[in-house]
């Protein structure tokens, strides 16, 4: 191809532009970053992060943009692998066991406690981040700290809140949403009488089913184990929770005992139910579909009602970031995490997640996303009301096993469907939990 004057000119122009935009300022930015950062990546480092598949594209974009900025600032390439959220646990556990694969993992709940000795101690990083950004929320910190050592860095809580139809609630004779469990039961009864019932999953719904079951238990003061890991599920408080669940179940749409995670969303959007609990995704599914404009405008969200225990306590989903010991560049990994938690980076990410991800550090509580839409507001309190699964005992394989085996979900389902009496259901849950905690 003969090079004419025009091609030549445009070629040199783009070269010059490339030098101007990427070369010199890039170097300056890298210098500025490294001055602010405590952790210096090793020479020639590259990283691999295993994360869950994003729920909202804005979150993915913000995370990737932050990652790209990190690569530009430090020259460390970060490869991000995504796994569907239920597959992260086995994949990460295998990586921890065989000592290869991803260097870091964005995992769920108490996963880090399944293989704490395979994880890099990140106490220095987590302490620094906590001091710099207003401190960690207690519940989230519980998911990352084993005794005095941070084995992970808390990332976020995926908030859960009651989603209901304002017009249906008003039609049922309630001008505002009841704040306590008794009022809530009355509301559900009235909704049922109007033919616009509520519905919460009693099936093997990993997220929604566990959220609901833990709220039932904790709001009535019950707990699976005490501080010393003695199984205490067979208690008068649990019985009260079961009786309450039975009364609520009477008001539900039929079939909730077969519901998996998606069923309540489907039933809500098809106007089969007018009240359930879910992440903010339910609202966005309606808001994004022009055909569901009416539903979207009618959706209100509120935190789950407060029970006899007197304060708001919920499970929520929790995500943490941890670094595997087999990672060849632990300093680079720490630098990456430190970079991602810088105020403007973290704020951009939380905003991108449009109320899906609730901050782990108190400084970010005034992120504009929480006030941008009244629907978002209850989700901003997720990290505050959050309690680790396996409360009040320590996290570990036992707490993970009990939840994965659906011990609590099954206990409520057995009782509400009448398969067992409340006493038998409690005794069965006690027996199953003892197996894990013994």
């Amino acid at each position: 191809m003969p090079i004419d004057r025009r091609t030549f000119l445009s070629g040199t122009a783009s070269l010059a532009a490339g030098a101007a935009f990427s070369g010199v300022p890039g170097a300056r930015r890298a210098f500025a970053q490294s001055a602010a950062m405590t952790f210096q990546p090793e020479e020639g480092a590259s990283l691999r992060l295993l994360r869950w598949v994003p729920f909202v594209t804005g979150e993915e974009e913000a995370w990737n943009a932050n990652t790209k900025a990190f690569t530009e600032a430090t020259g460390v390439e970060v490869r991000i692998d995504q796994e569907s959220w239920e597959d992260v646990r086995p994949k990460a556990a295998v990586a921890a066991n065989v000592g290869s694969g991803p260097d870091m993992v964005m995992s769920w709940f108490d996963d880090p406690f399944q293989y704490p000795d395979k994880l890099v101690d990140v106490t220095d990083l987590a302490t620094k981040l906590g001091e710099a950004h207003g401190g960690w929320y207690e519940g989230l910190e519980g998911y990352a700290r084993q005794d005095d050592t941070f084995i992970a860095v808390p990332l976020c809580a995926i908030g859960n809140a009651v989603c209901y139809r304002q017009s249906h609630m008003e039609k049922a004779g309630f001008s505002e949403f009841p704040k306590d469990t008794d009022g809530f039961l009355e509301l559900c009864k009235a909704l049922k009488a109007n033919g616009t019932p509520a519905g919460f999953p009693h099936g093997k719904a990993v997220g929604d089913g566990n959220n609901y079951a833990h709220w039932l238990l904790w709001s009535h003061g019950g707990m699976m184990v005490d501080e010393n890991s003695n199984v205490t599920i067979n208690s008068p408080e649990t019985k009260a929770a079961i009786e309450y669940a039975k009364a609520l179940y009477e008001t539900f749409i039929p079939g909730t005992e077969s519901w998996l995670d998606i069923n309540n969303n489907r039933a809500f959007l098809a106007e089969q139910i007018s009240l359930t609990a879910n992440g903010v995704s339910l609202y966005y599914a309606a808001a994004k579909d022009p055909a569901m404009k009416e539903i979207a405008e009618d959706i209100r969200t509120v935190n789950l009602p407060i029970g006899p225990v007197g304060k708001s306590v919920e499970l929520h989903q929790t995500s943490t970031l941890s670094i595997f010991k087999h990672c060849k560049y632990p300093q680079a990994a720490k630098a990456y995490l430190e970079f991602m938690y810088q105020s403007d980076r973290m704020n951009a990410w939380i905003e991108g997640a449009s109320a899906y991800c609730c901050q782990a550090l108190k400084e970010f509580a005034d992120n504009p996303v929480w006030t941008s839409n009244p629907v978002h507001e209850p989700y901003s309190r997720a990290s505050e009301s959050l309690r680790p699964n396996g409360y009040a005992g320590p996290l570990g394989p036992a707490s993970a096993g009990v939840m994965a085996d659906y011990v609590l979900v099954d206990m409520f389902a057995e009782a509400v469907t009448g398969q067992r009496s409340p006493e038998e259901a409690m005794a069965n849950a006690e027996r199953r939990a003892r197996r894990y905690y013994s």
């Binding site: 086995p90 556990a93 921890a96 293989y115 099936g203 993970a400 099954d410």
Partner: protein
Amino acid sequence: MTDVPLTPRRPLLARFLESRNGLGLLFMLPAAVFLLCFLTYPLGLGVWLGFTDTRIGRTGEFIGLENYIWLFDDPIFWLSVYNTILYTVVASVLKFGLGLWLALILNEHLPFKTFFRAIILLPWVVPTVLSALAFWWIYDSQFSIISWVLMQWGLIDTPINFLGQPNHARASVIAANVWRGIPFVAISLLAGLQTIPQSLNEAAALDGATSWQRFTKVTLPLLTPIIAVVMTFSVLFTFTDFQLIYVLTRGGPVNATHLMATLSFQRAIPGGQLGEGAAIAVAMIPFLLAAILFSFFGLQRRRWQQGND
């Protein structure tokens, strides 16, 4: 002493390669290595894990029969055994009956015979997870097409709770499994039917046998060996089914459809109790062995019928 001329002995390798047994061993080696690496080793590891308290992320210690003793006292495990046996027996009987019936129909002279035979295979060809997802919608507690149609016809008032009520759920998952398994049985039996010489049937017809007699006295005995093999496979597939249950119910409602395979997965991978999960999987082996032995004796019977023994 006379000099005995020494014949130079050929090198060991050459002799080994030229001997009948040596060469045979060599040819079998790849298959043997394959079997050892991919069948014997995982199976052995699984059995070993069943005797340990291994968790995900932690190597376990040998604990003898503790996993099995715990499972023996675990009503959920026994429920899953009951479900698995019920699921396998009912689904296999239905698949056999309907499959044989379908094979007999397809063996007749029908118009568009090849077309129908191809169509029949579809449920088998569709990936299990896809067909399971379709059934998930069909059985949905709010949006089931079956409930909708019956409600339109005014036969029922409220949707049928397919997957919420224990026995409904069991029947529903069995129906989905039967739908998926029929083609395999039908097409295999059809192949068997076509190997039966037409002359035998004609001879029987000339002797005045009714069509029922021809079926029971000629077709069925000649088909027995194929039936034995096909049903063994069918039973094995059904017994170890996982995907269908996992998509439809995850073992719910309250474990009413948990099979041993799904319970094993739930305890081992999400629950992290690899040892216990392995023990549940190992507990499936006796049942599977029984199915294989059944096939073995089914095949033996054929040789006896042909007078070879």
